[in-house]
């Protein structure tokens, strides 16, 4: 089909040296179809019929009038639909104010476009483009200016000045960067510690009431925070971001526990960090039948009875387990803090603190 043009392309033999053409790989056909020029103007109804023209004028006027009415209605609606304790008033205020403004805007918009399309001339006009590249004489003049500036300042000639200037320019922004240093403190070891301490009672989130082991039936889930954490304290959200725990009771027979963590649970009650090891969303969905914990953000899935190891999704590490025990009154307490940093991975999380 394109045999002929392929010929054109390959007549320059591969043995010939590379030559740069302005058109690159574009093959120009000598017998290409000629441009017949701009298509003649098609006359619109409004151009040839006074009746249509008059109609179009009426339509534009009607649209602009509609706009005035809309804006006036919006002003009226602002006062006629005030907001009070009843929430439906919020809806009415939004709706009627919005509809009024909408009419005010669309009337102008559609009216103006209609005006342009029906009543303003629609003859297509051609205008020449000029090459973006400056004409040669202008380019030469510009180069002359640069050369003159160079000569007068000695920018190329005085190497030492130039180089020290580069150095100065390279260094001067640095203080501007370093003053941002106090945006936040040194991370320190804060990521390694949570509000859990030896003996902290497990409490309900968000009420803060302690939990007895006997209150937890098999299969039930408790959202837990350390007792004493309360919303009045300054760092409430920061502490909660690390200390949130999910407490579940399963059949102890199903639990697969390593020797090391054998006494971290109590009669099938296990406590795991609720903060996903992927990017930190709360792992809040528990599927009772499969013992799976699912993170609603990116669907990382953890097997609760098998040390919360990852069985699906982008997370890589199991959720850290909180070792727990029961005191003489039957309340659940933490044996210690988590043994590893909770939440998303970071570069030196495994380094010794």
């Amino acid at each position: 089909m394109s045999e002929q043009s392929k010929e054109v392309a390959t007549t320059n033999h591969s043995s010939e040296a590379e030559h740069v053409y302005d058109g690159g790989l574009n093959v120009v056909h000598q017998d290409a179809v000629k441009d017949p020029g701009i298509e003649p103007h098609r006359v619109r109804m409004t151009d040839k019929s006074p009746k249509h023209e008059k109609n179009a004028v009426r339509q534009v006027v009607a649209l602009f009038t509609l706009s005035m009415l809309g804006s006036a209605f919006a002003l009226y609606a602002y006062f006629a639909f005030p907001i009070n304790e009843d929430l439906t008033t919020v809806r009415n205020n939004t709706l009627f104010l919005g509809v009024g403004i909408t009419l005010g805007l669309l009337g102008i918009g559609i009216g103006a476009v209609h005006w342009a399309k029906t009543l303003m001339p629609d003859n297509e006009v051609a205008e020449d483009r000029h090459a973006i590249r400056s004409p040669e004489d202008k380019r030469a003049a510009a180069i002359e200016v640069i050369n003159l500036a160079n000569q007068e300042s000695g920018f190329s000639r005085r190497k030492l000045i130039r180089r020290t200037l580069y150095g100065a320019l390279a260094l001067f922004p640095l203080p501007g960067i370093i003053i941002f240093g106090d945006l936040g403190p040194n991370p320190g070891d804060k990521l390694r510690h949570t509000a859990w301490k030896q003996g902290t009672r497990l409490a309900r989130d968000p009420y803060g009431t302690p939990i007895k082991a006997s209150e937890i039936t098999e299969g039930s889930v408790f959202h837990v925070i350390p007792e004493g954490l309360n919303p009045e304290q300054e760092d409430y959200l920061e502490q909660k971001s690390k200390a949130a725990v999910l407490l579940v009771r399963v059949d102890p027979k199903n639990l697969i526990e390593s020797d090391e963590k054998k006494d971290w649970s109590y009669q099938g009650i296990v406590a795991y960090s609720k903060i996903c090891t992927h990017v930190g969303c709360p792992v809040a969905l528990y599927e009772q039948t499969t013992h799976h914990l699912l993170c609603p953000c990116h669907q990382s899935t953890f097997d609760l009875v098998d040390g919360c190891k990852v069985i699906f999704g982008p997370a890589s590490r199991p959720l850290p387990q909180l070792p727990i025990y029961v005191d003489e009154e039957g309340y659940l307490r933490a044996q210690s803090d988590f043994h590893e940093p909770v939440g998303p991975s970071f570069w030196d999380r495994s380094a010794k603190a």
Partner: protein, 548 residues
């Protein structure tokens, strides 16, 4: 003086004003220069306009919101009119967002106008980019303006995300938490950046105020600057036009700025604004009162980011399990870095594409006539592959919703997405390229043999033929007016050496142009016309015979 006075009297207020302004700022020269500037007309040119106008709406509605919003994370107990949250602890930012919603007349309306126009802004900018890509409008001399537009698109996403996080509700707080988790995953400096950004541990008391500064000053200022550059370059280059009779690389065909474009574009601003207002009055967006203030413990299932962040969230979700590695004592979170790197590489490819294509074609001329997408089959196919890649990542952010709504296994949906991310772009490439080539062949067919008229004629010797009608000269020109590129061979340079770059370019040019369909030439058309003429004569003769 006397002249001005008479001018005023003669032509009234308008002329008087014009004269007043011109004598002080000399505006007549500008009007003479730009007043009758020609702009080509096509619906697809309005996509960029939609983006521009929704940005103006964002500025207007955003300014209104700043008068009421308080970007503080100080804890307060809510005591406003919204009963379900009375007595709840929350940040001042969230409380003031609730107050805008429930206690300021038009407050909810403006919040919704702001949010809807933000969604529209990024969408329109994205579609505008696709239009520019698929029509080859990024070619010389517009490569730099493509990059400026690309920066605007990224800034649009940044503006969106910083704004999304301001109300400090449960949903946006979880979004920030994900950002924090991603930042922590960056090797060496992750934890430092996180504490600097949040002013300590997540969530801290600083982030909303800081995002506010970015959202209302830095990001919009940058958008304005790049927008100005974008538009100045647009005027400098003059707008492109689609190929057609009379449209050349050396002219611009369309309507004059005044009055047609002032009316059309000015009116279109009001239409865009009006449509946003209409949507905002009828449809709720981001009902923050349903979510509650940010608390790191609860989360709602099925949460979605705003649409333009979806592809990044999808990239995070699609990362395979167990991508985290230990390097000595240190943790390398490839499950975070891989999606991050893939997203950045994707963006870089988008930004650099014009330079790559220019290297392949070696075409150093200015291009002002747009390509029909079919006439650049490989470019169009690459675009389709890119769109598909983006779309799969984007759909990836909804794996959970797809699974629950269609009652499928979440795991299978996700695995399907992972496979699709690699397979579908390749399929899209091949299918699109074939479609383009077929369309080109169809065009060629029409140019050579005319359109099928549906008229079946039986010739005297019994043969049935369908009469084809030749395209008129204007339609014909549209079918054949495109650049015919052909692959090159690796040629030695002046020193007689074949460089690696030359070999690569030869390979790339084969990849692009080896299947290319050349436009029909006059010689071919005339040869066929002769043949058609003969048939037509036979047909006429047959008809006359019948009449007799």
């Amino acid at each position: 003086m006397s002249n001005t006075a008479t001018a005023k009297k003669k032509n009234g207020f308008l002329a008087g004003t014009a004269n007043y302004v011109d004598e002080r700022v000399g505006v007549a020269g500008v009007l003479k220069e730009f007043g009758r500037k020609i702009f080509p007309d096509h619906w697809s040119f309005m996509l960029g306009e939609v983006a521009l106008y929704s940005f103006l709406v964002l500025l207007l509605s955003g300014t209104f919101l700043t008068f009421f919003f308080q970007p503080s994370m100080t804890d307060v107990v809510y005591n406003g009119v919204y009963a379900p949250l009375k007595g709840a602890h929350m940040s001042i930012a969230y409380a003031s967002s609730l107050d805008i919603t429930f206690e300021v007349r038009g407050g909810l309306l403006m919040r919704q106008v702001h949010h809807w126009s933000a969604l529209l802004f990024v969408a329109a900018a994205g579609l505008h980019m696709l239009r520019v890509f698929f029509t080859g409008a990024f070619r010389k001399p517009r490569e730099l303006n493509w990059v400026v537009g690309f920066v605007l698109f990224v800034l649009g996403m940044a503006a969106g995300f910083t704004g999304y996080s301001l109300p400090d509700d449960l949903l946006s707080g979880n979004g920030l938490r994900i950002i924090d988790g991603m930042i922590k995953g960056v090797p060496f400096i992750g934890t430092w950046i996180s504490t600097l950004l949040f002013g300590g541990e997540f969530p801290g008391h600083s982030i909303v105020g800081r995002l506010y500064s970015l959202h209302i000053m830095l990001v919009p200022a940058l958008i304005l600057v790049f927008l100005a550059i974008h538009l100045v370059m647009l005027v400098l280059h003059k707008h492109t036009h689609y190929s057609g009779a009379g449209r050349k690389d050396t002219n611009v065909v369309g309507y004059p700025l005044m009055p047609v474009y002032v009316a059309k574009a000015g009116g279109f601003f009001f239409i865009v604004f009006g449509v946003i207002m209409l949507i905002a009055s009828f449809f709720t967006i981001n009902p923050i009162w349903n979510y509650g203030g940010y608390d790191p413990s609860p989360v709602s299932a099925g949460t979605q980011p705003d649409w333009y962040i979806g592809w990044l969230d999808g990239a995070l979700r699609l990362a395979p399990t167990h991508l985290e590695f230990m390097i000595g004592d240190n943790t390398l979170s490839m499950n975070i870095l891989l999606p991050l790197v893939i997203s950045l590489v994707f963006l870089a490819l988008v930004a650099l594409y014009p330079f790559f294509e220019n290297w392949v074609t070696g075409d150093k001329r200015e291009h002002h006539v747009l390509d029909r997408p079919r006439n650049a089959p490989v470019r169009t196919a690459i675009g389709a592959a890119g769109v598909t890649f983006y779309a799969v990542l984007w759909a990836g952010a909804s794996t959970d919703l797809i699974a629950t709504n269609f009652k499928m296994s979440l795991n299978q949906v996700l695995v399907t997405m992972q496979i699709s991310l690699i397979i579908l772009p390749i399929v899209a490439f091949m299918v699109t390229k074939r479609i383009c080539l077929s369309l080109q062949r169809k065009d060629r067919e029409i140019a050579l043999h005319g359109r099928e008229s549906g008229r079946i004629v039986r010739l005297p010797h019994g043969e049935y033929i369908e009469v084809h009608e030749a395209a008129n000269e204007y339609d014909l020109f549209k079918l054949v007016d495109y650049k015919d590129y052909q692959p090159t061979l690796a040629r030695p340079n002046a020193e007689g050496k074949i460089t690696i770059s030359a070999r690569l370019r030869a390979t790339a040019s084969r990849f692009y142009f080896k299947d290319s369909v050349s436009p029909a030439t006059m010689t071919e058309i005339e040869a066929n016309a002769h043949h058609a003429h003969e048939i037509e004569e036979q047909v006429q003769k047959a008809i006359e015979n019948q009449k007799l």
